[in-house]
Structure formats: structure tokens, C-alpha cells
């Protein structure tokens, strides 16, 4: 079973296998059931989801590799467009990227058992707890 990383540590996946596949089943957001969990590819632009925002409770964005940063940009854009539900990054993200993912608007990261073994909870917690404030925050706030 997959492990979910949150600010408070590892938790079990409460949503396993519930995600609808956007590319196969859910292309019309108006057809989604309320409270839907949807998995989207990182190649979406984001706008296509807007009509379904009130129906989507949970989105999962796939990272095909930990060096493919499209998911970060997509997460940011979804938040800008007003998506307020849960946002999960899944795939091969490393502990060192956890803070980045959180700053781009993700709530949690899903990792497989093999990675959870090599990068145990303590490594992720350390990366979260030892973060410094960001330049971006300093530059964007009010003068």
C-alpha cells in the first residue's frame, strides 16, 4: 500500500484506488459526482478543471519522474484558479522536494513502499522542520 507523507508524518492512504482517471473517464467535469477524487496528468493546463471545482474534493497529480517539474507549475496554477480541495503529488518525489511541493500548493505526497523504506519518515520530517523562510514569500508580501 502506498504511504502518504504529510506535515505530521506518514499516514495510511485513506483514498486508495478511489481516484477517477481524468484522461479515461472524467473529461467532463460537470459529470463528476460531488466529492470526487480525480487523478490528472501533469500536462493539463488547469483551466479544463474549473467547471468541476465544486465537485472535486481531491486531486492527484502524477510526477512521472522527480525531475519533471510540470506538476509544481500545475499545482500552483490550480490554486490560483481557486481550487480549494485536497491536492496530492504522487510518483517519484523525494524528501528533499517536500517543501517545494507544499509551497506550490500540494497538501500531501504519495510515495511507494520502496522509497518509504529508503527515505523513512524521519527524513521527510527533517526536511519539513528544517526549512527556512523563502525569498519568494519575502518578495511577494505587502510592502
Amino acid at each position: 500500500m502506498a504511504t502518504i507523507v504529510t506535515d505530521d508524518g506518514f499516514i495510511a492512504d485513506d483514498r486508495a484506488n478511489e481516484f477517477l482517471d481524468w484522461t479515461e473517464a472524467a473529461q467532463d467535469p460537470a459529470d463528476l459526482p460531488y466529492g470526487a477524487a480525480v487523478e490528472i496528468p501533469n500536462s493539463l493546463s488547469g483551466e479544463e478543471l474549473v467547471p468541476g471545482f465544486d465537485r472535486i474534493a481531491h486531486l492527484r497529480i502524477c510526477f512521472p519522474s522527480h525531475v519533471d517539474g510540470r506538476g509544481f507549475t500545475l499545482a500552483r496554477h490550480l490554486r490560483r484558479l481557486g481550487y480549494a480541495g485536497r491536492l496530492r503529488a504522487s510518483g517519484h518525489l523525494l524528501a528533499d522536494q517536500y517543501v517545494m511541493a507544499r509551497r506550490c500548493g500540494f497538501d500531501e505526497v504519495e510515495i511507494d513502499d520502496e522509497l518509504a523504506r529508503r527515505q523513512p519518515e524521519s527524513v521527510w520530517q527533517q526536511s519539513w522542520q528544517q526549512q527556512t523562510a523563502s525569498y519568494q514569500f519575502l518578495l511577494q508580501r505587502e510592502a
Partner: protein, 565 residues
């Protein structure tokens, strides 16, 4: 120059600590090399042909004596007593050991320096005009802008895993010394018709295997819109830039495939949303940064010593004509120190030379130094009365070569001597050309020769008046020549002259080009580039290939063209 805030200091120390931890995890195996790679690259650590190489950022090329002495210390303590200045205003150490790198980074942090984002697919060290703050033709000092961008781009959570590396350059002068048209984003500080400060924003330039001159995406961007506009460009690029082929992943390809107009409208659309998120602190920050770039406390004194030396000393005359540029204060000069002594490796400086330069900056140069993308060191503020003394001390340290801007002031990438990607040597070629042209280079005048050891073009050969590209032809080095390239505000890519030359025929071929120019120039005031633009390729081709069969009657079978894409 810019002083680190408490925030900068804490930030950089924290990064060193994180990297120390990553190195430990790499050494104990909990990070695989593949996983470790992006993190070491984010901290400037490359794996090269023979060893690791650490690339240290010199933001917008600005240093003071304290920092340069620390670089000398690092070279002695953890490397082989020298460093190599690159075409992107960085310094590279070629022989550090992995386990020492965190200590080196701590030593850099001691003097407010770092190696962050000098590598990897992120926004790289921002470069700026090396005469910034001193040049007579400057509208506005570009360094505060570059520093603002450094801060904004540092560890940007959205832009640390881009399709490819991303380079930004800024100039504040109409004469572009920062090659803004060959960067992913180039910024030229301009005044609008109404006199408002802003930027001309150029996007999608770059050299490499597909050289492209950048296109203007915004003619006049108001100053306060800079960061949200940059963010919009990066946002679009990160979303749609190609990831299927690393040779098509730079933004120049994205812009070409999307079309500049379609790309612009996507950026503008994103910009409208992102602009609202910048609530004003960035403008406060840049004001604070500007205060730290105050003008030096100029000395008022007669300049007679300079004029005396000019009259008396022909060696000094050569130096003053080539290596001293106009300062905005007429009593001052900008002194360029050549790291291109004939027969030496372009861009290398020993720790001893670094200390000499640091001493000179302190004694005569308001404690400021610059590193240029042409791989030279600059003392930007020297009173004219002191230039003879500076020249004398430079000469004693082997740093007085009066060849700035001349044929031997060659840009060369590390090539086969260090670089794992190289297809040919470039450093030895540069040395040989410099030695061969020594006798005539003063007569030839301004001539920019640039050499790359493979098609990645780190030596900027496409924009050299004479560009040289080293290739591998069935195991033998072969050098292709391009002519007429230009890195300035009149940017142009060089034209392929014809078939390449084997290593032993290259140097005489370059000499023939120089001699041909001397023959056919209209007068002494017509530069190599101007002559080339007037005459075109033909007379130079004739000099390069004296035995060539005229066009249309078949060619040399063994000199068939190499396709370069």
C-alpha cells in the same frame, strides 16, 4: 556592493547544512547517484572527465578583495592552487573531493558567497554587464536588478525542475556587453518615451547546438512588473517546454515551436493573474539593494601621472589603449586585466594572481572587482593617476598583457582537457592562436575569437567575429570556422566558412584570415567585423581555401561538409 542580510546568511548556511546531509546520505548509500544528481547540481557540483568540478557563483560578476582572497584560499586548501573563470561569471574549481565540498561551501558562506544554482535545470546565476556601475554609457546600474532576480529565483519552489537550464542576463547600457540576445531571457534597461524606467524583455535566445538570436517579447515592461512577468514566462515554459528530448528543451525551441506571438499571449494571460500576487515588497527590497550599490567615494586629484606615462612608456601606451575603458567619471578608468597571457589557459588564475588582484583592488580600486564573461578580471574604478602603478604591479605578477579586445583575448571553453562532452581540444588551440597572432594583433585591432570544444557552444563561437568549433571526425579533431558573429546589441550569428580544418592546419588558417583583413580593409578604422560586413564571405573564403575548386565544378571529396544541426 550588495551586503547579505541576516536572511541571506541564514539561508545560505542552511543550504550548506542540507547539502552536507545529502553528501552524507550519498556516501552511506541512502541516496542513489541518480537521486543525488539533481541536488549536487543545484549546489554547483558536476562530475567531469577526471573528477568533480565545483562551480561557484559570482553574482553579476561582482567581487571585493575579501571574497577574492577567500577564493584563493579555497584554491590552495582544497584544489590545485588555481581557479578557472567562465563565460558566465562563475569560477570553477576542477579538483575538489566530494567529502570536502560541504567545507568549501561553508568557506564560501563565510564571505557571503555560494554555489547555489550554478548548475542543474533551474534558473542559473544571473549575469550582468561587467562594466556595471562604472561605464560611461550606462543609463542605470543593472546589478540591483540582477540581485533582485537572484533572490527571487533562489530555490523557487516552482522553477527548480525546469525542462532545461535557464539563463538570464541584464544590461543597463545601450552598448550590450552582457550578450542579452543570446540568453533565455535578456533584459535591457530602457527609458520609455515618457521617460519611465523599464525593460526591453528578450526571450528565447541561446547558443548551443541550435543558435538563436532572442526575440523581443515586451518592448517596455514597467520596472515594478519585472518579477511577475519573469514568473509568467517561466510558468508557461515549465508547463509547455519539451521534456522528450533534451536538445529541444530550451525555451528557444519552445518559442520557435509555439511562435513568438502565441507564446507572448500565453505569457500575458498568466501575467495578469500573477501580477496581483506581488503586493509591493519587491519594490521595497530593490530600493534597499540599490542603497548597497552606492557610487564609490571618488578621489579628486590631478591625472597628470597617467598622461606622463602615456608619453614616456610605449608598453603602458599599449595597455592604456586596449585595457582601459571610459569611466563615467572622466578622472577614472575601467581597467581590464587580461587572463589571456599568450600561451596560457584563457580564464585561469592562480591563487597568487588572485591575491595580487585583491591587493590592487584594495589599494587603488575602491575595493571592487568584476569578472567578465570574456574571462577577464576588471578593476572598475581606478583613478587615472594610479593606472601606471597598477600596470606596473600587474606586469610584475604576469597579469599585464595588453591584449584586451585583441586577437589573443580569446574566449575558450574547457574542451577536451576537462569536459566530458568535448569532441575536441579548445584550450591548446587558443594558446597556439594567441602565440601565432602576437606579432600582428595590434595592427589587426578589435577581433573576437571564440572557441568551443563541441556543439554545446560554451565558448560562444557562434557570436565570435571568428568562431571555432571543434568536432570529432572519425576520431580526428576537426575545426569548423564561422565568420561575422557578433555578441553585442547588433547581435548576429556567424556564417559557416566551409569545410573544417585538422588541428595542425587551423592556426595558419586563422592567421590567413587576419592577414586578409589587413589587406582588404578600407583603412585602419574599419574593424574586422565591419570589413566582413562590407565584403561578405568571399575574400575570406578564398584565403581559407586557396586550392578550392570554384563553385559548381565539384568539390574536394575529403572536405565534404559536416552537417551541424
Amino acid at each position: 556592493m550588495y551586503l547579505y542580510s541576516e536572511f541571506d546568511r541564514t539561508y545560505v548556511r542552511n543550504r550548506v547544512r542540507m547539502f552536507r546531509d545529502q553528501v552524507d546520505r550519498r556516501i552511506d548509500g541512502s541516496l542513489s547517484e541518480e537521486e543525488f544528481k539533481p541536488f549536487r547540481l543545484m549546489n554547483g557540483l558536476y562530475l567531469q572527465l577526471h573528477a568533480y568540478m565545483l562551480r561557484v557563483a559570482i553574482p553579476y560578476g561582482t567581487l571585493d578583495s575579501r571574497r577574492l582572497r577567500q577564493l584563493a584560499f579555497i584554491a590552495d586548501r582544497w584544489d590545485r592552487g588555481y581557479g578557472h573563470f567562465t563565460t558566465r561569471q562563475n569560477i570553477q574549481f576542477n579538483w575538489p573531493r566530494l567529502k570536502d565540498v560541504p567545507d568549501i561551501l561553508d568557506a564560501l558562506a563565510d564571505v557571503d558567497m555560494h554555489a547555489i544554482q550554478t548548475s542543474g535545470n533551474c534558473i542559473r546565476n544571473v549575469t550582468a554587464d561587467h562594466f556595471a556601475g562604472a561605464a560611461a554609457d550606462e543609463l542605470s546600474d543593472p546589478r540591483p536588478v540582477a540581485e533582485l532576480i537572484r533572490q527571487w529565483s533562489t530555490d523557487h519552489p516552482e522553477f527548480t525542475f525546469l525542462p532545461r537550464k535557464f539563463k538570464i542576463a541584464v544590461t543597463g547600457s545601450p552598448n550590450d556587453r552582457a550578450v542579452t540576445r543570446a540568453h533565455d531571457i535578456g533584459l535591457r534597461m530602457v527609458h520609455s518615451k515618457e521617460g519611465q524606467n523599464g525593460f526591453e524583455v528578450i526571450v528565447g535566445g541561446g547558443l548551443g547546438r541550435t543558435p538563436v538570436i532572442g526575440k523581443v517579447i515586451r518592448e517596455h515592461l514597467p520596472e515594478a512588473d519585472l518579477l511577475p512577468y519573469l514568473e509568467a514566462i517561466l510558468h508557461v515554459y515549465n508547463a509547455i517546454g519539451r521534456r522528450d528530448n533534451k536538445y529541444k528543451a530550451r525555451i528557444k525551441i519552445t518559442v520557435r515551436e509555439t511562435g513568438i506571438d502565441a507564446f507572448r499571449s500565453r505569457v500575458e494571460e498568466r501575467f495578469r493573474i500573477i501580477r496581483k500576487e506581488f503586493l509591493g515588497a519587491d519594490q521595497q527590497v530593490i530600493r534597499r539593494i540599490r542603497d548597497t550599490f552606492a557610487e564609490p567615494d571618488y578621489v579628486q586629484a590631478p591625472t597628470a601621472a597617467f598622461d606622463d606615462a602615456l608619453r614616456r612608456d610605449p608598453a603602458f601606451r599599449d595597455f592604456a589603449n586596449g585595457n582601459v575603458h571610459r569611466h563615467k567619471n572622466p578622472d577614472y578608468g575601467i581597467v581590464s586585466v587580461s587572463l589571456k597571457a599568450h600561451g596560457r589557459t584563457p580564464g585561469d588564475a592562480s591563487s597568487k594572481q588572485m591575491r595580487i588582484l585583491a591587493d590592487l583592488a584594495e589599494a587603488y580600486g575602491h575595493d571592487e572587482l568584476r569578472i567578465s564573461h570574456e574571462q577577464n578580471v576588471i578593476l572598475p574604478h581606478v583613478h587615472r593617476k594610479d593606472i601606471p602603478a597598477v600596470f606596473a604591479e600587474l606586469s610584475r605578477g604576469g597579469l599585464g598583457t595588453p591584449n584586451v579586445g585583441l586577437a589573443s583575448d580569446i574566449i575558450a571553453c574547457p574542451g577536451m582537457d576537462y569536459c566530458a562532452l568535448a569532441t575536441a581540444r579548445s584550450i591548446p588551440v587558443a594558446r597556439d592562436i594567441a602565440v601565432r597572432l602576437r606579432e600582428i594583433e595590434r595592427d589587426v585591432g578589435s577581433l573576437k575569437i571564440k572557441i568551443s570544444g563541441c556543439i554545446n557552444a560554451c565558448g560562444h563561437h557562434h557570436v565570435g567575429h571568428i568562431g571555432i568549433l571543434g568536432l570529432d571526425r572519425a576520431g580526428v579533431e576537426n575545426y569548423q570556422i564561422t565568420l561575422g558573429g557578433d555578441a553585442t546589441e547588433t547581435a548576429a550569428l556567424g556564417d559557416r566558412a566551409g569545410p573544417g580544418f585538422p588541428a595542425d592546419e587551423l592556426v595558419p588558417a586563422i592567421e590567413r584570415l587576419a592577414l586578409t583583413y589587413l589587406d582588404i580593409r578600407e583603412d585602419q578604422d574599419e574593424s574586422f567585423l565591419e570589413t566582413y560586413r562590407r565584403t561578405g564571405l568571399a575574400p575570406f573564403q578564398a584565403a581559407l581555401y586557396p586550392d578550392a575548386v570554384p563553385k559548381g565544378r565539384g568539390g574536394h571529396p575529403e572536405r565534404s561538409n559536416d552537417a551541424v544541426s
